[in-house]
Symmetry: C2
Subunit: 459 residues, 2 copies
């Protein structure tokens, strides 16, 4: 396997880093449904959104017609510090599986945030800086998004206030310290620093917090402090736009060697990675130029696509954010303590939801122990210790490669390896000790979550 | 700064990964002194060394005449999974410092072990496999070497037994779990699984262990179990040989753009990184072809070069290993709890010691808090969170760049960024909280350590 024409890692030149993001919505016949104001059930206006988000990001959020949007030079300069990300040919995994399939993965973990989150963090921080803001606020659960935003803000000299779910703040002190090293102000949520935090603490004195609550605190601080806006690491259209850099680079690398993928696989939480990875491929599919099997992988414990409902719902548990039409388990759905923190969101990107609804992609769910089995196998032969989130895609890539082996088919499989698992060793330890369990919500659990869906008049 | 001729990251092609290691000793007029058998004070023979180390590694250890040694194809294949490592132009750091100096760093942290250690781990594991052995044993302190060896052994299907200093085993559970995920058998040292461990535990019931003790246990298991050998991650000539890949790639990348370094800087613990980084440059210097300033950086708390003695000493605290002629603080020297675990070794590579003794390189020592100040500044502008060990080199690179600013000199500085600090957040937290202190051993401390030097007849 030593002298292959296709190298282990396909690196693009710096000059080949895409100069424009690709806006998938421009090629969609059925556009993703607009965000609604929860009070009026009318589409959110640019002005309403501008109270929470930066102006230019609001434009990007609402723009569903412009196919390509220039990446500002300052952002491209930052991208050069950790991009292009390598597209890796998984020769060793192929050999270990004995499959005729050709497996590639786009590795987004070669940066200190350890994930693809940095691609959107720098963009959002840049527009905040450009608008003359003092800083941004956000929430973080597992900590990857908070780390990415801290790095971007340190680079640009912006203030960064992160509300970190209290249980993570205490259980993941290392993540917290990385953010602090990058100068971020990290507050365990719920906190006494916000009205909503005080209210929640009064009602639930011992609570260890939730993403929904942290969002509420971050939004409150953004709207009540002049010079601050709120930023979010997934779900939004603007985030998928920024993350399209993943797919554009992947496509450029494949094109360089004349490789045509048959199957494209990504893990899906809020959709930031999946939406970015598949963007240009889905564009070709939407325009009828090419056909690909595109597979979203979600945890069986939080199965928005495979067992959720396509409906308007709140993006946050606190029910203060706009309503989004998406595949959802209901904002009242409480995911089990699945370790892939980044995939524990009850909803899904509206863009991806519409595409799934229209039959342009498949979705499948996998159980946690089988995900860690795949992660371990991958780590041992490919060297990289994958994040639990990313390992959902590895699981399905391996399964598809084994199907190829059975059928004797030489398919080309591409999957997104979103990040590394250095800060997830508690989960790996459980797996190593044989103490990891699976959890699949019952139909009753799901019905309970869906009962929280708001009543929204047909649009 | 956007359209520079020299990119942010200079990547070589896979085909440009060196096919031979460079054996610096071949170009040394004064060869490093041989290892001595502590019982006889005579040079260790290949046969004696072969009881502990793999045959081919013994040959490499003793060979001080062959300048280039072929890298076996299997090792080159493994290198392709994470090499070539990028040579990064620190544009952002230069701008932040306002220096006319041009700063480059060779980044060795883009792999799961998080450091350069993998370069020698795969080589040593390969030769063990080739010899038909069942497995290897080693010790690890901070855990980078143990992780690297676990990865290499997982890849080759070798058994890997790691003795991890008990205090690290307990305080760094994540490192331990990474090794276990790669299938290694990790034992806290001292343990009841070896005779020497039992003896130490009987004498010091509450001990949290030491590197010296872990070495003794690992060696005992290697020599008393058929099919096992002991491997070591630093100090040895063979390790410097394997690590020459760092310097060879660095030189190839610089040559590609016609860049001539003025100053080359590396952190120095046992010498594995420094010896590898400087190898081809030092070769030119030894052959009188070029001149470079070469600077070794060590912690003020463990100053082997700058305050030690050039003498024969034991490599381990347990005094069972061969004697090496090196700059040493005495095997009885107890370093303070400096967080750069990888630089807490009392001695130094014999090759580097001879070169320093002969005036071919400089050495300087730096204090811990100033190292973390440099680390933080670097992280915020360059994005990468550096390991404390690597940050010693960053400190001196910044200091040299600031001298250039003062003098208005456009020097080219190259330093080795050996790894990432993801598993060192306890130290960063101390720094972030303002609770980090410096420690410089007194002359009495040093005299006490040096009093442990063995009596060796003049060779």
């Amino acid at each position: 396997m030593s002298e292959n024409k296709i190298p282990y890692k396909i690196y693009l030149d710096e000059s080949e880093i895409p100069s424009k993001w690709y806006n998938l919505r421009a090629d969609m016949k059925n556009k993703p449904a607009p965000l609604l104001n929860p009070a009026t059930c009318k589409p959110m206006t640019a002005e309403e959104l501008g109270a929470v988000f930066c102006e230019e990001l609001v434009q990007q959020e609402l723009d569903d017609t412009t196919p390509y949007i220039d990446i500002p030079q300052e952002i491209r300069d930052f991208y050069k510090m950790y991009r292009p990300a390598p597209l890796v040919r998984a020769y060793c995994l192929e050999e270990a599986l004995g499959t005729p399939a050709k497996i590639y993965y786009k590795f987004e973990g070669n940066n200190t945030s350890g994930s693809h989150k940095l691609n959107s963090a720098i963009a959002q921080a840049y527009y905040a800086k450009k608008q003359g803001l003092k800083g941004v606020t956000t929430e973080t659960g597992a900590g990857q998004w908070g780390t990415a935003l801290s790095m971007a803000c340190a680079y640009l000299g912006l203030d960064c206030k992160v509300f970190m779910v209290k249980v993570s703040y205490e259980q993941k002190p290392f993540r917290r310290e990385v953010m602090r090293t990058y100068g971020a102000d990290v507050t365990p949520s719920p906190s006494m620093t916000t009205e909503v935090g005080k209210k929640i603490l009064a009602e639930h004195p011992g609570t260890t917090g939730s993403l929904g609550c942290a969002i509420s605190e971050a939004v409150e601080v953004a709207v009540s402090n002049p010079g601050y806006r709120y930023v979010l690491g997934s779900v939004l259209n603007q985030v998928l736009l920024h993350q399209s850099i993943i797919g554009l680079e992947t496509k450029a690398a494949l094109d360089k060697y004349g490789i045509e993928p048959d199957i494209i696989i990504g893990c899906a939480g809020g959709g930031s990675n999946l939406g970015g990875l598949i963007a240009p491929f889905m564009g070709e599919k939407l325009r009828g130029e090419k056909d690909y099997r595109i597979i979203a992988v979600e945890p069986a414990s939080c199965p928005s696509f495979t067992r959720g409902k396509f409906a308007y719902d709140f993006c946050d548990t606190g029910m203060i954010c706009p309503l989004a039409k998406m595949y959802t388990l209901g904002s009242g759905f409480i995911p089990s303590a699945n370790h892939a923190g980044g995939l524990r969101f009850h909803g899904m990107s509206t863009t991806l939801s519409q595409l799934y609804h229209d039959g342009y992609m498949e979705a499948t769910s996998v159980e946690q122990t089988s995900v860690f089995e795949a992660a371990e196998q991958f780590a041992r032969v490919e060297g990289i210790l994958p994040a639990p989130e990313s390992s959902h895609a590895i699981r399905v890539a391996i399964d598809e490669a084994l199907k190829c082996k059975e059928a004797g088919e030489e398919k080309t499989i591409v999957f997104g390896l979103t990040g590394t698992g250095y800060f997830d060793m508690v989960a790996y330890q459980k797996f190593n000790d044989g103490e990891m369990s699976d959890y699949i919500p019952t139909d009753e659990d799901l019905a309970k979550g869906l009962s929280s869906l708001p009543n929204v008049p047909e649009q």
